[in-house]
Amino acid sequence: MHARNLLDLAWLIPAFPAFGAVLLLVFGKRIGEPRAGWIGTAMIALSFVASVIAFLALRSLSPDLRSNVSQGFTWIQAGTFRVDMRFLVDPLSSTMTLFVTGVGTLIHLYAIGYMHGDSRFSRFFAYLNLFAASMLVLVLGSSFLMTFMGWEGVGLCSYLLISFWFERNSAAVAGKKAFVTNRVGDFGFMLAMFLIFQRLGTLDYSALGSTGHVPSTIASLPHSSVTAIALLLFLGAMGKSAQVPLHIWLPDAMEGPTPVSALIHAATMVTAGVFLLVRAHVFFDFAPHAGTVVAWVGAITALYAASVALVQNDIKRVLAYSTISQLGYMFLAIGVGAYSAAIFHMVTHAFFKALLFLGAGSVIHGMHDEQDMRRMGGLKKYMPITAGTFIVGWLAISGIIPFAGFWSKDEILAKAWFSHNYALWAVGAGAALITAFYMTRQVWLVFYGPERFRDDAVLVQGGGDAHEADEVHPGEVHGGAEPHESPWTMYFPLVALALLSVVGGFIDLPFTNHKINVLDRWLDLPESHQATSFGAGLILSTVALTIGVIGIVWGVSIYRRGLRRGGVDPTVERLGGFAGVLQNAWYLDIGLAHFVGGPVTSFARFLSEGVDRAGIDGAVNGIATAARGGSGGLRRLQTGLVRNYALGIALGTVLLLLYVATRVTF
């Protein structure tokens, strides 16, 4: 029971960063440049320690008791509706806390160096801490509503952090876009909660049961409402986790400082959707159709984003689209019922994508805020550590054994195959190939080949990132200055994450021997138990590996010599006209803006001008005008001529007599 008492202290995990956030928000100015960063980092670190303790305490319990709801108080109660402020610690949430706080700590540390000299340095860490707190509430919440609270909290922080440099209009717009798009998802989430409450009478996770026994309330639910709940939850997840078509905010989110991109828009927040669906997997167990939808949306997202990533020139945008693509994999996994695989990929992805982003950040830092890959090249010798770690991340994401990415991606594809969704497998594999290719392109453009950052000859030709031009911090230095390696606060996290990206895969090796795949057992989530033969698994893994290798080789062969003359990108050249389509992200964003945004705006204008001003207000004022008119008429009757007045009296008399005529008894 000692362990439980420890677990009841789970509220401390979000409490540390929350405290840090308040502290920095209020006293940030007085605390000042370096210290604020350290305080922030310390808070999240403390929270990491707490998570570790919680993890150990949980592990000490027997598997069937590994779920503890901490003490708390009633948050909202109305009628039979009741939601408590409690924290649920179970394998899933503790896994999440571990990597959220872990990665978070590293990124905080990194940010100290990266944000050096920013005018709102302390504010930045306040936001980061607030984000960490919200994220932890999200994962630790004991009910949908608690999760939703964290959900919105991270949304808020992402808004604040994306538009952290709000002097840049593009940043402000991006922040708003992110929040609003997320709101579309939240719309689904809320409806899902309403439906769940109506059907189950509570929003508490405990009502969802646990693996093994499913509550009768859910088992007996009409198929339609289960599907509805599942799909509505998925809508929420789509918003947060940037699935097509709600992905549009994520690329723009790169307006935020790089640590933000790494922490929020790669490692943690965007995976909240995955977490939610896994948390509520029971609904998907009962709604196969919903699962199919999820899987296909995921697969399409994966392929789509990968294809777009092919031709991006902004170092961060490439990673952004790659993130979307990887998230697609996770949803594909959930769709085919491979929940633990999804979590597995989520974790590994958190490692290597954070690594890649921080690496990119380090490059940008070293290049004095240059983000266009066409102006880079051959940086390996200027920033060796960054390069080395980045390459690790590259191999991981490309699915090269034994790096983390290989295991998780391979598991997902295998699960797709064994659940007889061969089409899904094919799409996933295709996406994997493209991924390997564009990552190779990035690595070569940035770290190998000729150094292009000195000559300004490379003209920036607009494309997918048309607003590159204003994508420059205040006080950017162009060319001239030499690239340099980043301070240790920045490359230490790189190294750490690189290590994780190497070993991360081993927490869940795809062998039937349950001694080895720890995560799977630890999470103890229901699995789609198709016949998985070791042989077939091995073959699939080999195929996946070869796909990765092919992609890399192909990429290297093309980008060995960097760009063509005049800074022309060979891929773009090869794709010809189609490149434009890709650079504009299949025109989805523009299309949405044009075909949805346009009509909506004009409709809104019609409502406000046409209906409200002219229609309703007009009607009201019309009455007034009419009254005035009548008044004027009556006034004209007052001729001032006594005989007219007498006439009026006579008229009245006649009217009265006419009325009398109706009453007289003849």
Binding site: R643, N644, L647, A650, T653, V654, L657, V660, F666
Partner: protein, 196 residues
């Protein structure tokens, strides 16, 4: 016989009335008014209202009409009034409405249904010959004594009012002498007569 008298005087009444409203010259109108009043008095006599008829002649025919003529001449307005009408529609509407009122009254109160009231609620009429002098004066000083008193107020108002109004507006607040006398004497004379 009765019928003859009635129709003759009725014709006179209507002719007089129409004359009043059609005469271009106010003096003519006044004279036509005299005709009407006189013939009405005849109709009073016809209906055994001798005293009323007498007063009609004395007060109306003499005093009032004379007063009218006096004023007309005093103001020297015995000239034709202009035919042009500020609101031409007025005349037409007026006549239409008039016709409507008349028709209305005649139709609504048609035939022999004019009289539906209870009979002789406040004193029976005397014999036709008596002209009801006694009866009238009796009820005047018994049943209607209060109404009779009330007329006093009317006359005071008439006196004071005409005094005030007839003053020349030039000098105010102190008693004027001229226009004052004219009207006050005239009203005074009536008051004597009607309170007799």
């Amino acid at each position: 016989m009765e019928a003859v008298v009635f129709f003759v005087s009725a014709a006179a009444v209507l002719i007089g009335a129409l004359g009043v409203i059609s005469g271009r010259n106010p003096v003519h109108s006044a004279l036509f008014l005299l005709l009407t009043l006189a013939s009405v008095a005849v109709l009073y006599l016809q209906q055994h209202a001798a005293l009323v008829a007498a007063i009609q002649i004395v007060v109306y025919a003499s005093a009032i009409v004379v007063l009218f003529l006096f004023v007309i001449t005093l103001l020297g307005v015995d000239k034709h009034e202009p035919r042009d009408d500020a609101h031409p529609i007025q005349r037409v509407t007026a006549i239409v409405l008039g016709v409507l009122v008349l028709v209305g009254i005649l139709v609504l109160v048609h035939g022999n249904r004019w009289v539906t009231g209870a009979h002789s609620s406040r004193g029976v009429l005397g014999a036709p010959a008596s002209g009801n002098v006694e009866t009238l004066s009796k009820s005047l000083f018994t049943d209607f004594v209060w109404a009779f008193e009330m007329t006093a107020v009317l006359l005071v108002i008439a006196v004071v009012g005409s005094v005030v109004l007839a003053r020349r507006s030039g000098h105010r607040a102190q008693v004027a002498s001229d226009g004052d006398d004219a009207s006050s004497e005239s009203t005074g004379s009536e008051s004597e007569r009607s309170t007799a």
